[in-house]
């Protein structure tokens, strides 16, 4: 079953400098129980797309079905079925943790008692167990982030949107948060759709990634598929000297599955579909021909390589571009 089905979703903003096409007709689907990441630089249209799907922003064109409800015709139905955790947090610093959780539960139509019960359960799951009475301004950044997620989960939605969940957290809190996000999906089967501009986050966390740039989806697939499809793995075999490397190149160039072979000093660098499987086969072929392999290294492409191949820019460059340009659209 499809949890999100977006068809030609488009959003334009009118600004003083003219029309900005933030999202230009994106089509995608997210299956029930999937953990999908929207990867792209700031200003690529990730947040705008997510805000449309969460009923916060009306699409300029296109339509979507979210958790089985039509986004345009039944926004209240969509709201009942989803949780949304915004990027900048969503709590009043003067409120207490359980106060926010219970109000949120009440706004979803739950009783105060049920709200308190769920607040306690969520706090247990999200490492906030003893913090029910604590004021939010006294929480650490990581605790506040987990509270934001608890607020998005209080009504046990089948689908939850997380906008840049780990932005601003220290490495330890990030790793901890990733564990909790995986836990959400594994424990309750919640479908999770998150945006990120961190390659490592998309790579570590997501079943599937949609890469978005300039308001359009430029690629989709599992992290492994994307890396494989775009650049292939690089197997580097050290063979003693340049002459041996030349012989090795001739030997390997025509083999099945080998896309490209280059020589680098005394090493051959072979681009193949799947480096882990190919490495031993390649080594054995050289061995059989009497070429001793001194060292062997397999490098998998990073998502940054993928982004570079797809857009001609590295993700970091794209990021620098975006921060140089003025911010467009709602935050």
């Amino acid at each position: 079953m499809s949890m999100i089905e977006a068809r030609g979703l488009t959003r334009h903003f009118k600004t003083r400098t003219g029309l900005v096409e933030a999202v230009r007709g994106v089509d995608f689907h997210v299956a029930d129980g999937e953990l999908v990441g929207f990867l792209g630089p700031n200003g690529a249209g990730k947040t705008t797309t997510q805000r449309m799907l969460a009923t916060l922003l009306a699409p300029t064109a296109g339509e979507a079905t979210v958790a089985g409800r039509d986004l345009r015709r039944d926004p209240t139905g969509v709201r009942r079925a989803i949780g949304y955790v915004a990027q900048g947090g969503a709590t009043n610093p003067s409120a207490a943790v359980d106060e926010e959780l219970v109000v949120q539960a009440r706004l979803y139509g739950l009783s105060a008692d049920e709200g308190r019960r769920r607040a306690r359960a969520l706090r247990d799951h999200l490492d906030l167990a003893d913090l029910g009475e604590r004021l939010i301004k006294q929480l650490s950044g990581g605790q506040r982030r987990r509270l934001d997620i608890a607020l998005g989960m209080i009504h046990e939605p089948r689908l939850i949107f997380l906008d840049e969940p780990s932005t601003g957290l220290d490495p330890h809190s990030r790793a901890n948060l990733w564990g909790h996000i995986r836990g959400l999906r594994d424990r309750a089967g919640t479908t999770i759709f998150l945006t990120t501009h961190y390659l490592d986050e998309a790579d570590a966390l997501c079943d599937r990634i949609l890469i978005i740039d300039h308001g359009q989806i430029v690629a989709a697939g599992t992290p492994a598929e994307l890396k494989r499809r775009i650049s292939g793995d690089l197997v580097t075999l050290e063979v003693g000297d340049a002459a041996a490397a030349e012989r090795a190149r001739a030997l390997l160039a025509d083999r099945d599955g080998v896309r490209d072979v280059t020589i680098h000093d005394a090493a051959v660098r072979v681009t193949v579909e799947q480096g882990d499987a190919a490495a031993l086969v390649l080594m054995r072929a050289l061995d059989d021909a009497g070429l001793a392999v001194a060292s062997l290294r397999v490098a998998h492409p990073t998502l940054d390589d993928v982004f570079l191949t797809l857009t001609g820019r590295s993700l970091r460059d794209a990021e620098a571009d975006a921060s140089g340009a003025s911010h467009v659209g709602p935050a």
């Binding site: 709201r79 949304y84 915004a86 709590t91």
Partner: protein, 253 residues
């Protein structure tokens, strides 16, 4: 019914947050007393001024102070909403299925309750200072203050929601508040004004509200002043709620 339920949830939440701020609490209670303490000494000989309306000075000034409290007490609540927008609280609530009108009404009710407490306190202290007012008249006036609170807190929320910036809201409020107050006869009765100024003041709904409150304080329940004041306050409340509901629904569709 979900409107009332959601309004009740937000009302209690907002009230708890407010009461938790001790500074605010002290200011809210001391402010009406300051008005009285700083105004009362001016009242002794003012009644001798030609054109001063009938009634003793207290029953002319206290209703004016109450209306001023109603205007200025509620006018600045939009700042709180802008802070909530910045915290992300408003957006978080927009993603819930809660009624948009409920989200607004809960806040307006909180502000109105606070105002009513302040108005009752101010009246009680004025009585202790020597004000003589019939109970019914005082209750009518406090009700008028409540209606003003509904009107102005709604409009302030609408303006805050629309502008989303303190820097824009502050000058807007000043621009509206100062002429509205000067032309209402809160500080000095408009019966002292030259003809052109008096006519101008009649176009200001707040001047009718002030006159109505003064009539209620005198116990003149049958006069057109009181009726005009009640109608003006009610219309202001209806217009304020309508504008704010529309703004909330559009900005948070």
């Amino acid at each position: 019914m979900s409107v009332l339920r959601d309004a009740g949830t937000i009302f209690r939440y907002q009230l708890r947050l407010l009461i938790r701020e001790p500074v605010w609490f002290v200011i809210a209670l001391v402010q009406p007393l300051l008005y009285l303490a700083l105004f009362a000494p001016l009242l002794d000989r003012i009644t001798d001024t030609p054109g001063f309306p009938e009634g003793d000075a207290w029953s002319v000034f206290v209703p004016g102070l109450l209306i001023q409290l109603g205007m200025f007490g509620s006018m600045f609540v939009g700042f709180g909403l802008i802070a909530e927008v910045r915290y992300g609280v408003v957006e978080r609530m927009r993603v819930t299925p809660a009624s948009r009108l409920g989200l607004l009404l809960g806040r307006v009710l909180r502000d109105t309750l606070v105002l009513l407490v302040q108005a009752a306190l101010l009246t009680a202290v004025a009585v202790a200072f020597g004000l003589r007012v019939p109970l019914v008249g005082a209750l009518i006036t406090v009700a008028i203050v409540g209606l003003l609170g509904v009107a102005l807190s709604s409009l302030s929320y609408a303006a805050g929601m629309w502008l989303k910036s303190e820097d824009a809201l502050a000058p807007l409020l000043n621009m509206v508040a100062v002429p509205a107050m000067l032309l209402s006869g809160i500080l000095l009765p408009m019966s002292l004004a030259p003809r052109w100024l008096y006519r101008l003041s009649r176009a200001n709904p707040f001047s009718h509200v002030v006159d109505g409150a003064r009539a209620a304080f005198r116990g003149d329940y049958g006069t057109t002043s009181l009726l005009a004041g009640l109608i003006s306050a009610t219309l202001l409340a209806i217009v304020g709620l309508a504008v704010a509901t529309r703004t909330f629904q559009r900005e948070t569709a």
